[in-house]
Amino acid sequence: MIIYLIKRLFAMVPVIIGVTLISFLIIHLAPGKPTDVMTELNPKITPEARARLEKYYGLDKPILVQYGLWLKRIALLDFGNSFSTDSRPVIDKIWDKKLPFPDRRLSVTILINLLSMLLIIAIAIPVGIYSATRPYSLGDRISTVCVFIGFATPTFWLSLLLMMLFSVKLDWLPISGLKSLNYATLGPWQQVLDKSMHLVLPVFVSAFGGIAGMSRYMRSSMIEAINNDYITTARAKGLTERAVIYKHALRNALLPLVTILGLSIPGLVGGSVIFETIFGIPGMGQLSYQAIMTRDYPVVMGILTISALLTMMGNMTADICYGLVDPRIRVK
C-alpha cells in the first residue's frame, strides 16, 4: 500500500507542472502586458514606475524564468495583489483570515460541493440499484427518462425556475445569499436553520446533473456486477436475494463509483460559478465571476490555479481510496 501511495504521489508531479504551466500560459494570452490594466487606468504613472512594476512581476525576464519565479511565488501561496480598488492580496480574498472559518470564500464553495456530493450519493445509489435489479421495468424506464431530462437541463435555467417557484411565488425559501439580514441576532439553532434554508436550492441545483449521471453509472455498474459468476455462486448457495444484492453485488458495484466521483469534481467546481452568481453566494465562484467581469487578472489566475490543484487533490484522494478498497489496483 505504501509503494502504491508513493507511486501515486510521483505520478502527480507532471500533472502539477502541467496544470501550473497551462494556468501560467493563459496569463500570457492576454494582449499587452498583465500590468497594463494597472498602468492604463492611472494617468499619473511614469515610464519609470511602469518599468518598476514590470520588474516586480518579472516581465523583463525570459518566459521560462518567469514561470519559475511564478511557481516559486505560488508555492508560498503568493498570487499577487488584486487589481481592484482594495488591491488586497489574492489569497486574502479567497481565504480571508479575518472572517470566521465557515464564511471564507473557499470554505463556502467546498461546503456546498461536499453537500451536493453527499446528495448525489444519497439519491443516485438507491436509484441505480433499483433500476439495475429491475431492468426494463416501469420504474427503470421512468428513471431513464428522468436521467435524460436531468442531463439536458441547464443548471442556470433550473436555478431560475426554482427561484421563481420557491422564492418569488411561494416565498418558502430565501431568494439569495447565504444568511438573512438578522442572522447575527438569531440563536445558534436558528442560525443553522437559516443557513440551511439558504443552502437548499444551491445544493440541489449543483447536485442535479450529477444525480442523473451517477445513477446511470450506478445502474450499469450494478448490472455488470450482477452478471458475474460469484453472484451465481451466491445464489446457488441459497443466499437470500437481499444478501446477494446488498452484500455481494453492491460492494463490487460501488468500486468504480469512487473514481467517477473523483472525476466529477471539476464539473462541480466549474458549476459553482453559475449557481453562486445566480444565488448570490459569497464563494469562490462568485469571486471569480466578479474578477472576470472586471478583468482582475491576478484573482482569475489565482482561482484557476487553486481550483485546478484542489481538483487534482480530489482525484488523488479518489485514487487512494480506490487502492484502499480494491487490492487489485495496488498491484497494477
Binding site: 502541467g18 431530462i149 439536458a152 458549476g271
Partner: protein, 280 residues
C-alpha cells in the same frame, strides 16, 4: 466502417433515436429558415408591447424592449447550432489527431499525450473557458474555439483505445506488408474503422457545447446583445423574474429540448452502431 443506408434504417426503427433525430431536424429547419419563419425581426422594437405576456401577436410574449421572444429564439437557434458544430468539429479534429498518434506510435509519445489529457481533465474546464474568454475577449469565434480546445480529451481517449486494438489486426499487417506508409495506414486503414464511437461522442459533444454556450451567454460572457442567444434571453428572464415568466420558461425549454435531442440521437446511434453494448 459506418454504412450509411443500414445505419439510417436501424436508427429509424429505434424510437429514442428517431425522436432525437426529429428534434434535431426541426432545430435545423428553425435555424436555416429563421428569416422566413420568424414572425418579426429579432431586433424589431415595439414600445407598445414591452414585456407583453404570450398573446396572439406574440406567441411567446415580448422582452423588456418589446422584441418578439419567439423570433429571437428562432435566430438564437442559429447561434447554438453554429457553436455546437464548430466547437465539436475542432474538438473532434484535435482528439482524432492526438488519439491516433498516441495509439499508433505508443511508447513515449503515448505517455506524453495521455499525461496531457490527464492535465486537461484536472482543470475545471468551465473555469478555464471563463478565464480564457476574460483574457482574449468575448466573440462568438473565441467561444467556439475555446470550447473546442477544452473538450477534445474524451475523443482522443476513444480513438487511442480503438487504435490500440485495431493496429494489431490482419488488415493493418496486410497494408504494411504491401508497403503502405504510417500516414496511409493511420488515415485510410485504421481511422475509418475507428470512426463509429467518435461519431457518437461528437453528437453527444454538440449537446455539451450547446449547454456551455448558453451558460456563458447567460453569464454575459458569451454572445452579446442585440444578437440573440437562448442564454442571453434567459439573462433578461432573470432580471424580470418577478413579472415575466415567459422570458425564462421558453428559451430554457428550447435548450433542454435541443440537448435532449442530441443526447437521444447519440445514444440511439450508439445502440445501432454497437449492438453488443445494448444488453449491458
Amino acid at each position: 466502417m459506418i454504412k450509411l443506408p443500414q445505419t439510417t434504417q436501424a436508427l429509424l426503427k429505434n424510437p429514442l433515436a428517431l425522436s432525437g433525430f426529429i428534434i434535431v431536424l426541426l432545430l435545423f429547419a428553425c435555424a436555416v429558415f429563421a428569416p422566413v419563419l420568424a414572425p418579426y425581426d429579432y431586433k424589431e422594437v415595439n414600445v407598445r408591447a414591452i414585456l407583453a405576456p404570450p398573446n396572439i401577436h406574440h406567441i411567446f410574449g415580448t422582452d423588456e424592449l418589446g422584441r418578439d421572444v419567439l423570433s429571437r429564439m428562432m435566430y438564437g437557434s442559429r447561434i447554438s447550432l453554429a457553436v455546437g458544430f464548430v466547437a465539436v468539429g475542432i474538438a473532434t479534429l484535435i482528439g482524432i489527431l492526438l488519439g491516433a498518434v498516441s495509439g499508433y506510435y505508443g511508447r513515449w509519445i503515448d505517455s506524453c499525450l495521455m499525461r496531457l489529457v490527464d492535465i486537461m481533465l484536472c482543470i475545471p474546464s468551465f473555469f478555464l473557458i471563463l478565464a480564457v474568454i476574460a483574457f482574449i475577449g468575448q466573440s462568438i469565434w473565441n467561444i467556439m474555439a475555446i470550447i473546442g480546445f477544452t473538450s477534445w480529451m474524451g475523443v482522443s481517449r476513444l480513438v487511442r483505445a480503438e487504435f490500440l486494438s485495431l493496429k494489431e489486426r490482419e488488415f493493418v499487417l496486410a497494408a504494411r506488408a504491401s508497403g503502405a506508409g504510417d500516414m496511409r495506414i493511420i488515415f485510410s486503414q485504421i481511422l475509418p474503422n475507428a470512426m463509429a464511437p467518435v461519431f457518437v461522442s461528437a453528437i453527444l459533444g454538440i449537446a455539451a457545447a450547446v449547454l456551455i454556450e448558453s451558460s456563458l451567454s447567460f453569464l454575459g460572457l458569451g454572445v452579446q446583445p442585440p444578437l440573440p442567444s437562448w442564454g442571453n434571453i434567459l439573462t433578461s428572464g432573470k432580471d424580470n423574474m418577478e413579472t415575466a415568466w415567459w422570458l425564462s420558461v421558453f428559451p430554457g425549454c428550447a435548450i433542454l429540448l435541443t440537448v435532449l435531442g442530441y443526447n437521444l440521437l447519440g445514444e440511439g446511434l450508439q445502440d445501432v452502431l454497437n449492438p453488443r453494448l445494448k444488453n449491458k
